[in-house]
Amino acid sequence: MSTQHSKAAKKFLKNQQYAHWHDATFWAVRSKRDNMAYGLDEWEQLREKASQIKRHTITHLDEYLDQFATNAEKNGVEVHWAKDAAEFNEIVYGILKNHDVKKMVKSKSMLTEECGMNPYLESKGIEVVETDLGERIIQLKGQAPSHIVMPAIHLNHDDVGELFEEKGISNEKGNHDPTYLTYMARLSLRNEFLTADAGMTGANFGIAETGDIVVCTNEGNADMSTSCPKLHIAAIGLEKVIPNYDCLAVFQRMLCRAGTGQPTTTYTSHFRKARPTAHHMHIVLVDNGRSEWIGNPEHWESLKCIRCGSCMNTCPVYRRSGGYSYSYFIPGPIGINLGMLRDPLVHSGNVSACTLCNSCQTVCPVKVNLGDQIYQWRQQLSEFGTANPQKHLMCQGMSILYGSPGLYNFVTGLAHWANFIPAPLMNCGLNPWAEGHKMMQFPKKPFHEMMKGKVRSTLGSLCTFRSKNSEK
């Protein structure tokens, strides 16, 4: 009865020591987020405003996109539109080819991950160098991100140290000190910045009123990627566009507080025009499903997401199963929902990775109803044909059982006979409940029998107590 997610999680849980560290690390990030949130009296007001701004913006996005593109073009920026991943990759390759680019440095972008851009460009002979330290580490390792903000969180300092030795980035063998390794990566990446022909950034926000794109980083790698190379390409998902600076102030204040528990990222950079000594700046706006998702009555609000990562940091299932247990490239609650919008046949195994505790939607800075949406997806599994047949059968059985009181009372009256079934028979592979659980002992008398006559008398005495008190 295990889903794709729970099977993958088993691998993650094999290393108990690491699994515990992972859980504790993300809980610490969640606690830092709480400190930030409690530090501002207006936090909940900001969440409500942020949610309302996003609801308004994504339901008027055609107008804001038009305004954004018009203003960016006024600033001398070339704006491109891509309907899907393939077209996005072709557009980017076209721009790079026109400028005879051999090497491109880039800052973090979940969109380029979504579109599979790096392998595409590499197949065309263009070298792509990730410059966010975490992204660089997993690129060298040939892996995908396991978290959207902390992509290399699945590796420890020894893993990174050995990787850097192998790739010739560090030269002191056995020195796996994070400060040393970060410094060696800095030297290596500095060389890449100086010798690249192009720089690519994603965008945290596009501002319709000014045509700016805004990129938030702690490392300064987006700024380094665009400071020396002569060409800047920015890749933006449609939903990143917001109306104006007043709205930006709300999101800038929340993004980092919610995501990493910092008051701000080190750099909040506004790119409005190309550098005076560079070529035209290019912005590629990417649809890739978004124009369909806005029409989904139950799931359109996933487009409000600002990719802060707070929903995965707090998720008890993510914390205890890691990013690689999910089939979609974005893990955690938002990834479950975006994966289902992308392709429910491929990603429905993820909807079981949820306890419906709703911690995600309690912390989400833009109030995406993540847990509610996961619940909704679960109701549709039969429709997609991806429901687990065993669970489906059990549910049918349960609705008959709970639907007829006579049958229910009869069966619960007999339940204690199950205690006499020999343990090896109960704890075998045929009984999915026994996996990871100890079988329970059924009481001799069902709850109903035990409470018969008692409930009324308890209620009665409570009422007497109340009326006596109110007389006083």
């Binding site: 330290l133 300064g220 449609l238 102030a249 800038q252 909040t268 950079s269 029409g295």
Partner: protein
């Protein structure tokens, strides 16, 4: 190739219900009794350094004291007489690599998070990031409480002249910087000096 019109048409057709823009004027944003003190505390908490400069002191002297071993100092500010490089005059941006100290001017600071707004007012913005150490000059009276005030000010002043007679709109690039470049990407250990400046000092200048 699909056009802007195709994508927008499809998106528009699929919108089911439209929502109004909320009123943002009633946000009860945090303010501080002493914004300058809060700003300085925040700079320190994000790993930066903030120093109040006494009236009459020479900034060049202070920079020398802070970085006695610095050989290459880059700035286009006329008051920085110890500069050995000028980001307005370098041939290529990469020629600024190897800068020990970059000196730039900020327009205003933000008390809630230690950010300083720095529009590009030099030909090569690389100086803000490529330098090993960054020194930001800021008038200490120019501190706003929070990002709402910051962006309101930015909207109002985007075209007004800042340092070197340039406005944000001229070069069309500007950034809020709060402390030095940092990362925790290796095992969540915080390290200062990822890809950009390894230290950041704000010199708060008197009136």
């Amino acid at each position: 190739m699909s056009s802007k019109e195709d994508i927008l048409k499809k998106y528009r057709a699929n919108i089911r219900e439209q929502f109004d823009m909320p009123d943002l004027s009633d946000i009860q944003a945090i303010t501080y009794p002493d914004p300058l003190m809060q700003f300085m505390n925040m700079i320190k908490s994000v790993g930066g350094n903030a120093i109040e400069v006494d009236k009459g002191r020479d900034i060049n002297e202070i920079i020398r004291e802070l970085y006695p071993d610095a050989r290459e100092i880059a700035s286009n500010l006329p008051e920085i007489t110890i500069a050995t490089r000028n980001p307005d005059k370098v041939g290529r941006a990469r020629d600024l690599n190897g800068t020990d100290v970059g000196v730039i001017r900020g327009v205003f600071g933000v008390a809630e998070n230690g950010c300083v707004w720095i529009p590009q007012t030099m030909k090569e913005k690389a100086v803000m990031f490529i330098s090993e150490n960054l020194v930001i000059l800021l008038n200490k009276s120019e501190i706003v409480n929070n990002m709402h005030e910051a962006y309101a000010r930015l909207s109002a002043e985007a075209d007004s002249q800042g340092p070197m007679g340039k406005s944000f709109s001229d070069y069309g690039y500007g950034t809020f910087i709060s402390g030095p470049s940092k990362t925790a990407d290796i095992a969540q250990v915080l390290v200062m000096g990822a890809q950009a400046a390894r230290s950041a000092t704000v010199l708060l200048l008197p009136e």
